[in-house]
């Protein structure tokens, strides 16, 4: 019989992030798949009661909480301490948690202290002969492994967009407070704030329905023999505005800045998708002026519907990876697309 622990932390508003509700669905699926197993919830945050209330109807046998001002923000030392305390108190054999930036940092440390094994970027679960198996990608989304572990505790960090969002009624949850005494040494790091791009410069939108992937072709010489970087910027930003899209970029485009070539002013390494960038999840993706494996294969592994605009009909990276390949000049097409989107 497995003791399943679902872990989550509150966000800046004291609520659970969306990925936590997705991971709760995964935890319930595991509980259902492993007969006789129990589910405990563990919450970390400055005040976990509202978060506990929001999942009161999930069917957990108990809800454990580490709370207080020291646990309000993402700090490794205090988060590891909190997770360790909940892990010990729950006696969990399988621990499942959302792969937020906060938990991605702290979970491995807690795994070490709990003498647990850990698998991150879990993108699927299945049961074979009553044994839990998880799926995760290796070599930056190039091969998919299905694996299991005999050792316990086993920590699983689940990626976003994999499981459905848990839906259930709010209620008045009873939270059992777990003590996690924090020393001065554990407070050497102080979180002073969050730097967010201004609303106009916000080009990364994880919740967007569409991902626009911009390739290096935007800053290359066009048919008139000139570079039109400013025009490219306008087309891309207009599209992001009208389609409420998120922006990804090929590595080559981002790297151009440090190589002294024409650049798009709003583009940074944070936009990069692929081997050394992110692999975002969006329902739709449109790649423009891209050539290469990173944007088409690795960068949009988790994009459901994919289309590409490219002047090369034989682009081997788009063929077989995109649903539709438009052989056309992206400058002309995107100008027209934006015109149509602006009309509403």
């Amino acid at each position: 019989m497995e003791k399943i622990l679902f872990l989550a932390h509150t966000d800046a508003n004291g609520h659970l992030p969306k990925i936590a509700f997705e991971t709760l669905s995964a935890a319930l699926e595991i509980q259902k798949g492993l007969a006789g197993s129990t589910l405990t919830v563990g919450l970390v945050g400055e005040n976990v009661q509202p978060a506990a209330d929001s999942i009161a109807a999930c069917g957990a046998s108990k809800i454990l909480g580490v709370s207080g001002a020291d646990f309000g923000t993402s700090r490794y030392a205090t988060d590891v301490k909190a997770l360790e305390a909940i892990g010990v108190a729950s006696g969990a054999t399988i621990i499942i948690a959302p792969a937020t930036s906060r938990f991605s940092k702290a979970l491995p440390g807690s795994a070490f202290r709990l003498k647990a094994t850990i698998d991150t970027h879990v993108s699927g679960i299945q049961f074979t002969d009553g044994v839990l198996q998880v799926q995760r990608w290796y070599y930056r989304q190039r091969m998919l492994a299905t694996l299991t572990r005999a050792a316990r505790p086993w920590i699983l960090a689940v990626d976003s967009g994999v499981f459905p969002i848990w839906q259930g009624a709010k209620g008045a949850a009873k939270v059992e407070a777990i003590a996690a005494a924090v020393t001065d040494k554990e407070k050497r790091t102080k979180v002073t704030g969050v730097e967010a791009p201004s609303a106009d410069a916000q080009t990364i939108r994880p919740e967007a329905a569409v991902l626009l992937v911009a390739g290096a072709g935007w800053t290359k010489k066009q048919t008139d023999g000139q570079i039109h970087a400013k025009e490219a910027e306008k087309h891309i930003l207009d599209f992001l505005k009208y389609a409420k899209a998120s922006l990804g970029s090929s590595k080559s485009l981002v790297d151009q800045g440090s190589e002294g070539e024409a650049v798009l002013s709003f583009m940074s390494h944070l936009n990069q998708v692929g081997q050394t960038g992110s692999t975002p999840r969006h329902p739709k993706g449109l790649s423009t002026c891209c050539h290469g494996e990173e944007p088409h294969v690795v960068g949009w592994r988790f994009i459901n519907e994919r289309r590409a605009i490219n002047t090369d009909a034989n682009c081997g990276w788009a063929q077989g990876k995109a649903d539709v390949l438009y052989v056309a000049d992206a400058f002309a097409v995107m100008a027209k697309v934006n015109e149509l989107l602006a009309k509403g």
Binding site: S104, Y139, T189
Partner: protein
């Protein structure tokens, strides 16, 4: 006030991203087809951390950089030929598998053990750098486990910027959700920083740096300690390439207006 650091960078090799990879079943678990023949590069995020380490050492006189690499000795030697000309460092080499299918706990234990054995290591000056995750296992767990084993409680992941303040404390930017940065300050060393891309370009090759590095690299390779990594922690049921191949519809010789309308309809659909 300047502070001298001992920056230990954990980084090893991964297959060149342009290579086609194919999984096979090896004697001890999954492996890559022709793994020993595949051209390798320094793991990209670990590479960024090495460049950041060098930059920081240059700004803080008296600092030194040690690169600690776990991988097959022969392949590490090839890798060092590529990176030795980039920045000054001393090498500590562990001879073992650099496969992404190894368990990070095993890798972390081997690396932390090797760090502990660095002669004259002063933990009060220690900064452990590495990539926020590797391009092979991509777990993002090894660095934190190293920190735990070394007793380091100030850990940062996905860092793009580290600034040393006049009082010796750090200001660190870590990537978080939505293209934002978490801003933190830390009282000082020891600390572990798992880097994202940082802000530095790849340094140009410098033959003089290469010659100086090679004087210590070759003996380090000869002295490489075998890393006994267990391979029984993970039971792989399968490792396979994604099968999905899309039937791409090619639209060409079509007016721009028509293409634009189709795209807009699709976006709104």
């Amino acid at each position: 006030m300047t502070t001298a650091f001992h920056i230990v960078v954990c980084g090893s090799l991964v297959p060149d991203p342009l290579q086609t990879l194919e999984p096979i079943q090896g004697p001890t678990g999954p492996a890559l087809k022709n793994e020993m023949m595949l051209p390798s590069v320094l793991d990209p995020w670990a590479g960024h951390s090495l460049f950041e380490a060098s930059h920081l050492a240059k700004q803080n006189p008296g600092s030194k950089v040690t690169l600690i690499s776990l991988g097959p000795k022969a392949k590490l030697q090839q890798l060092m030929m590529i990176i030795a000309q980039k920045v000054p460092f001393e090498l500590v080499c562990l001879d073992g598998s650099a496969s992404g299918f190894m368990d990070s706990r095993e890798v972390a234990a081997a690396l932390a053990g090797a760090i502990e054995k660095i002669p004259g290591l002063d933990k009060t000056k220690l900064l452990v750098f590495g990539g926020c995750s590797s391009a092979s296992r991509d777990a993002g767990t090894t660095m934190q486990m190293i920190a735990e084993q070394l007793g380091i409680s100030d850990v940062f992941l996905g860092a793009d910027e580290l600034k040393i303040q006049p009082d010796g404390s750090f200001r660190i930017l870590e990537r978080i959700e939505g293209g934002q940065y978490l801003v933190s300050t830390c009282a000082g060393a020891p600390a572990m920083i798992g880097w994202a891309t940082g802000n530095l370009p790849e340094p140009p090759n410098n033959p003089q740096v290469g010659m100086t590095n090679m004087r210590t690299i070759m003996p380090a390779l000869q002295k490489a300690t075998p890393a006994a990594l267990k391979t029984d922690a993970i039971r792989f049921a399968s490792v396979e390439l994604p099968k999905q191949q899309r039937q791409t519809r090619i639209v060409k010789d079509t007016p721009v207006e028509e293409i634009a309308k189709e795209i807009v309809t699709w976006i709104k659909g």
